[in-house]
């Protein structure tokens, strides 16, 4: 049985695949020891699995475990996992342990070992300041204290030649010094070790004596630019002890109950690795949870028939956005900064905007309305929750009638509309009405989201009109229509299971590992990289074989014009190596406004991505039955849209049926989120239970949807046809 468990701040989402259906369970998280909720999730899913009781399927209701877990870890054993659990339980885990360790700065005491004379480079970084005009910016915090930086007398040249090697005595002295420092982990990054790792390997072997985790840069990130490589290696070492204890203990506890049980972990790049590998290379898991969201959104969108998506996951304090092609791999970046520290291993290019539902609104000294980055958080929370006193985005939505006070979080939170009105009136500044203030807050926050989406789309040469906006998270579906309009995105998809999308993504993700080497060769020698591909592929195949996996190798090269500093990644076909160069010129023109086929090209990195596909899963599609959703309509209320309040129907999402079509304005509510369909837009439910919103300018086709909920582009029609055949 394969189970995916995604640990979030409030809930731990658990998903498994049984009898061809996705089953979902949400339980409360246990932040002090996240593994408790994980084990409880496994237990509950297994119980349901064994009882064959129908529960929480794609179209079903969400329910919570009756009460949060209480007590200490010993409960697990008691309430615990079935005495003799099922065999071969495979737990796939999206973890926040890495992210939180970085944010809270609670990682290991790390010794940093580098070429002598360069000990401080890990702190100097790139010598630039993050905030250009702020005389009072705090000093960036280096993960390595001065007394934990160690130099080795060695040097490799830019031609990979070893100019000096440490003697055995020098190495022994280094080991002693590191031991005496009380370090709990070691990060080694010598100059040019990516090009010639021989000395670094010697240093690594010597330091392994210490019996603490050792991270070496030629393994973690064998690429040029010493600071980014070292920083990535240091993060790995910083996380290693804690992640190792956490993951290996979790795997042990699972294995105790389930013969052959194992734990795999979601990586930041959207693929799965074994817990053992993740424990050694935890730097690959710092965006574990959000990566699940990317994969989940991609799968859902692909099944719904959309190939290019912009993901939009709006939470309480921040919003994650990303661009992905659901047919190919999602966009990766090698220039991430997590909690102020650069990380160079490839991660999904998830851009975070510092604004969400809890962001606070204020007028600044120049009279401009600002929203965020300060957030009301969980405490005191928005005004409408009863304790907060400053206006938030959530309060603005309530004033505009865009929250369903009764169904908000299943009715679990009472919203105080009167208090919200009163306090927001006091804060509205020169604006005339509370509604104007509220509408302003919403527009400003949506502009920030729009900018975040621009950064990852337009600024990278993508045209939003070619995309579908996939909205999830608590606030995504509420703001999606309006954002789509602003960016001219023609369509919004609110997937079924918007609250457990990350867990679904983790469940369905492929096992992926990247292998790369910096080669720095002229473009004319493209054919000769075959040999390097061969070596990398062999290394990759061996690693996968050790895990009992069979993978497929994808080849790519990073190219640039000779002497440029940044590369573009293009696919490599051994039959037609020249095609890579052509693709590079085209991509360069598209991104940067020019290309020159006569200019010499350079091969910088050779990359192999090994992929073992997860077991295939196709969701069950229901036949579409034309309907207007009136059976799901719970009430009609006034909701504010540009120009004033308009009567708006409220629908219960769980009561909508495939084929239902609803014209905006409409609100569609569910346990974890609410979807706002703007006037002029039209929503329909597809055969998978997704909401698909056709985004149009207001005033165009007010009566919206054609009969049967078929979208104008005919995509819905095809999908419906397939279902009937199925």
């Amino acid at each position: 049985m394969r189970i995916a468990i995604d640990t979030g701040g409030t809930f731990t989402d658990c998903v498994c695949l049984a009898d061809g259906k996705l089953r979902v369970k949400k339980i409360f998280s246990t932040p002090a020891d996240p593994s408790r909720a994980v084990l409880e999730g496994v237990r509950q899913l297994e119980r349901f699995h064994n009882s064959r009781a129908p529960f929480d399927t794609v179209q079903g209701d969400f329910s919570l475990a009756e009460k949060p877990l209480e007590g200490d870890g010993s409960d697990i054993a008691k309430c615990g996992i079935a005495q003799s659990g099922a065999d071969n339980v495979e737990v796939r885990h999206g973890t926040t342990v890495g992210t939180n360790t970085m944010l809270e700065r609670t990682g290991a005491r790390v010794a940093f070992v580098t070429t002598a004379g360069f000990e401080d480079t890990i702190a100097i970084g790139r010598q630039a300041r993050a905030r250009l005009y702020d005389w009072f910016a705090p000093a960036p915090e280096c993960l390595i204290a001065k007394e934990l930086r160690f130099g080795v007398a060695e040097r490799v040249s830019s031609e990979s030649e070893i100019l000096r090697e440490p003697t055995d005595e020098e190495l022994a002295a280094l080991v002693d010094a590191v031991r005496a420092s009380g370090a709990e982990a070691v990060a080694i990054s010598l100059l040019f070790s990516f090009a010639n790792p021989k000395t670094e390997k010697r240093v690594e072997a010597a330091l392994r004596e210490l019996g603490i985790p050792v991270s070496a840069s030629h393994r973690i990130l064998p690429e040029f630019r010493e600071y980014e490589r070292a920083s990535t290696t240091v993060v790995n070492a910083y996380l290693a002890p804690r992640m190792e204890i956490y993951l290996l203990a979790l795997e042990e506890r699972i294995a105790e109950k389930h013969r052959g049980g194992r734990v795999d972990v979601m990586q930041s790049l959207g693929g799965i690795i074994a817990a053992r590998v993740a424990a050694e290379e935890p730097v690959r898991t710092v965006l574990s949870g959000p990566a699940g969201g990317v994969v989940g959104a991609c799968r859902m969108a692909r099944w719904a028939g959309f190939d290019k998506i912009i993901g939009f996951d709006m939470g309480g304090t921040s919003t994650d956005v990303f661009v992905a092609n659901t047919e190919a791999a999602a966009q990766l970046t090698r220039e991430s900064v997590v909690a102020g520290v650069p990380i160079g291993v490839p991660m999904l290019d998830i851009h975070t905007a510092g604004a969400g539902g809890g962001s606070l609104a204020r007028f600044d000294a120049g009279g401009i309305l600002r929203v965020g980055p300060e957030s009301a958080g969980a405490d005191p929370g928005p005004i409408c929750f009863g304790r907060g006193e400053r206006a938030t985005v959530t309060d603005a939505n309530l004033v505009l009638g865009r929250l369903d006070a009764e169904s908000f979080l299943g009715g679990g939170v009472q919203l105080d509309g009167e208090r919200t009105q009163r306090l927001m009136r006091e804060q509205k500044g020169a604006l005339e009405t509370v509604e104007e203030f509220a509408a302003g807050i919403v527009r400003v926050v949506e502009t920030q989201m729009e900018k975040a989406i621009r950064v990852i789309s337009v600024e990278r040469g993508h045209d939003p009109r070619d995309f579908t906006l996939v909205a999830f998270g608590g606030g995504g579906p509420l703001h999606a229509c309006s954002l789509a309009r602003a960016l001219r995105i023609p369509r919004v998809l609110v997937p079924a299971l918007p609250g457990a999308l990350s867990a679904v993504g983790i469940l369905l993700a492929d096992t992926v590992r990247d292998f790369s080497r910096t080669v720095m060769m002229p473009g004319e020698t493209m054919g000769s990289v075959d040999e390097i591909f061969g070596e990398l592929s062999a290394e990759a195949a061996a690693e996968f074989a050790a895990e009992g996996l069979k993978g497929v190798a994808q080849r790519g090269v990073d190219l640039r014009y000779r002497r440029q500093g940044y590369e573009l990644n293009v696919a490599y076909d051994p039959q037609e190596p020249e095609r890579s160069t052509k693709a590079f010129h085209e991509l360069h023109r598209q991104r940067y406004g020019f290309a020159d086929e006569s200019r010499p090209v350079e091969i910088v990195n050779v990359r192999v991505r090994m992929i073992a596909a997860s077991e295939p899963y196709e969701p069950e599609r229901c036949a579409l039955v034309a309907g207007d959703g009136s059976a799901a309509c719970s009430t009609q209320r006034e909701v504010w849209f540009e120009g004033g309040f308009r009567p708006t129907r409220f629908y219960k999402r769980e009561r909508l049926r495939p084929g239902d079509a609803i014209a905006g304005p409409a609100m569609i509510t569910e346990y974890t989120a609410a979807t706002l369909v703007l006037p002029g837009c039209a929503a329909s439910v597809d055969g998978l239970g997704n909401l698909v919103i056709d985004v149009r300018e207001d005033g165009v086709g007010q009566d919206g949807v054609r009969e049967g909920g078929v979208r104008e582009d005919g995509v819905g029609e095809d999908a419906a046809g397939e279902e009937e055949r199925a």
């Binding site: 004379g117 360069f118 401080d120 480079t121 702190a123 100097i124 790139r126 010598q127 630039a128 300041r129 905030r131 250009l132 005009y133 702020d134 005389w135 009072f136 000093a139 960036p140 040097r155 040249s157 830019s158 100059l191 040019f192 040029f224 630019r225 010493e226 600071y227 980014e228 007028f363 600044d364 000294a365 120049g366 009279g367 401009i368 309305l369 600002r370 302003g440 527009r443 400003v444 502009t447 920030q448 729009e450 900018k451 621009r454 337009v458 600024e459 045209d463 009109r465 014009y561 000779r562 002497r563 440029q564 500093g565 940044y566 360069h588 940067y592 406004g593 020019f594 020159d596 200019r599």
Partner: protein, 544 residues
């Protein structure tokens, strides 16, 4: 002061949109440029201007460029009758530039170009005049002249390199090969220059596309109103800050060690008059030295940039950097002085050294008005190093340029940051591995210069030490300051340590201290060691 008129929400949207255009141009430039100084160190700036050439958005790039770029755009507008598809190029410090290595490109955005977008924009019709301008400026590692790297101790502008008055490098979408060839024939590293210039043109086009998209989306009428409002908004923010300050006249001065020709120190003096009632500031540099023979003369654009920077630093982080910031300012920079030089004065160091000292002086004066808001002096020099020669690996000419960070001055309430670029620059370091791939050098040491920060209740940040071994004979040029006059402390805080440069000769092992501003022929195996100044301390340390 004008009253607020625009919808605060629409204004915020517009601010976001134009700022991201400037940032996007910067990303395109960095990712396509060839020289390490642009691609690794990001020594460039990008900005967007309205139809009158006023800056309405600037990327978070190099402060010294930002305040002075509007002059480049103004100079280009004055000199050229632009047609669609044109791009102007210029670097003449006496016609819109600052110093010769900074080459600026200006692209006028015509609405008729909107047809090149794949979007319907029927409502927007082309006119005969540009509706916006986009511009970028990048520091080129060599623009010819007497010294490799074009940052040497010249005594006239003619010796500093090629001087380009505003001229079209692209006409109607086609590169003017004659202009390009003229430039390339005047520099030491033509291939690298051509690649960098290509990247600048590409970045202009990226900016043009984005501006046109904005015009298609909102229409020009709205954009024009918003542009105006954004300028007003910046002005309001600055005036609001000045209104909080105590009225008065505040004097300060500080010194440049020398001009690189004689040993005579050069003074920069300022009087700030703050008028909180009007929310205005008058800045007068009377009493500053006359322009000098050496290359530390600043043109007026630089002095204005320094004022712009200081005013911008008084505003919150999310304030827009537009030209409106300068409206509450009245600047008096005596003509023919070191802060407003006339031709043929040499100006290479005005941009990088004198600009920092002008900021030091402005802050020293401001500290008398609002001591709790002003840090002690930071390193106060960019410690410029240029090295030129022939790379034995390729037998091609090379030109290397880099600035080294120093210590940041201590702040009231917190220590200064060590080894970080401050004030008018924010360029990154060249990664050692990138540097050794690109140049025949070997870096021997790169570390903090411990103890170089000034003492105080709060310590100044430490400077850096960087040691580079030459793997071939080469011409090494230094342009640095703060050797004699150290970065000042404030409130009884100590001064930061002075900077130093030393050559360790390969043959003899002899250590030779180099002056701050000089050019020397060094031998293969010689090691150049740069030690950058620490920041000043803040507050009395006490007895313990």
């Amino acid at each position: 002061m004008k009253t607020q008129a625009a919808d605060p929400v629409e204004l915020a949207i517009f601010q976001c949109a134009v700022h991201s255009i400037a940032e996007e141009m910067g990303a395109a430039l960095r990712r396509t440029a060839l020289s390490p100084n642009i691609k690794e160190r990001r020594d460039y700036s990008c900005a967007v201007f309205d139809e009158r050439g006023r800056a309405i958005a600037m990327g978070d790039h190099m402060p010294v460029h930002l305040g002075s770029m509007p002059m480049s755009v103004q100079a280009a507008i004055a000199a050229i009758a632009f047609a669609p598809g044109d791009i102007a190029i210029l670097n003449d410090p006496y016609a819109g530039g600052t110093h010769l290595p900074d080459i600026t490109m200006v692209l006028p955005v015509f609405l008729e170009q909107i047809e090149t977008l794949r979007i319907p924009a029927e409502s927007v019709k082309g006119g005969a005049k540009p509706v916006f301008y986009v511009a970028n400026r990048a520091h080129h590692a060599d623009v010819g002249g007497k010294f490799a790297g074009s940052m040497g101790p010249a005594t006239t502008i003619e010796d500093e390199g090629i001087r380009i008055a505003p001229v079209r490098i692209v006409r109607g979408g086609v590169v003017d090969r004659e202009v390009l060839d003229w430039i390339l024939s005047s520099v030491r590293t033509p291939q690298e220059r051509e690649g960098d210039l290509d990247a600048q043109m590409g970045a202009c086009r990226v900016g043009e596309q984005r501006v046109l998209q904005l015009a298609a989306k909102y229409g020009m009428e709205k954009l024009a109103v918003w542009g105006e409002e954004l300028l007003d908004y910046s002005e309001r923010l600055v005036r609001a800050e000045l209104k909080k300050m105590p009225a008065g006249e505040y004097d300060a001065d500080d010194w440049l060690d020398d001009d690189g020709v004689t040993d005579e120190p050069r003074r920069i003096a300022v009087r700030l008059k703050i008028d909180p009632e009007a929310g205005a500031m008058d800045v007068d540099f009377a009493g500053s030295s006359a322009q000098v023979a050496g290359a530390v003369n600043a043109v007026r654009a630089i002095t204005l940039s320094a004022c712009f920077y200081v005013l911008r630093c008084l505003l919150p982080e999310d304030a827009p950097a537009t030209e409106g910031i300068l409206r509450p300012l009245t600047l008096h920079a005596p003509e023919g002085s070191i802060v407003n030089a006339r031709p043929p004065a040499a100006v290479a160091g005005g941009n990088v050294e004198t600009s920092q000292r002008i900021v030091d002086v402005l802050m020293r004066a401001l500290a008398k008005a609002v001591p709790e808001r002003v840090p002690a002096a930071s390193a106060g020099t960019m410690s410029n190093v240029t090295i030129g020669g022939t790379d034995p690996r390729t037998t091609e000419a090379f030109a290397y340029y880099e600035t080294a960070a120093g210590g940041m001055g201590a702040r009231p309430g917190m220590d200064g940051i060590s080894g970080v670029h401050t004030h008018m620059t924010n360029s990154l370091n060249t990664p050692i591995e990138a540097l050794e791939y690109a140049y025949p050098f070997r870096v021997r040491r790169y570390e903090y210069r411990d103890g170089s920060g000034g003492e105080g209740k709060f310590r100044g940040g430490d400077g850096l030490i960087r040691e580079v071994e030459l793997l071939t004979d080469a011409e090494v040029t230094l342009l640095a300051d703060r050797r004699k006059f150290r970065p000042y402390g404030l409130g009884d805080g100590g001064d930061g340590a002075a900077g130093r440069a030393i050559v360790v000769k390969a043959e003899s092992g002899e250590e030779i201290e180099l002056p701050g501003k000089c050019s020397r022929q060094l031998k293969k195996g010689d090691v150049l060691r740069i030690e950058t100044p620490g920041g000043g301390g803040w507050g009395f340390r006490g007895m313990s």
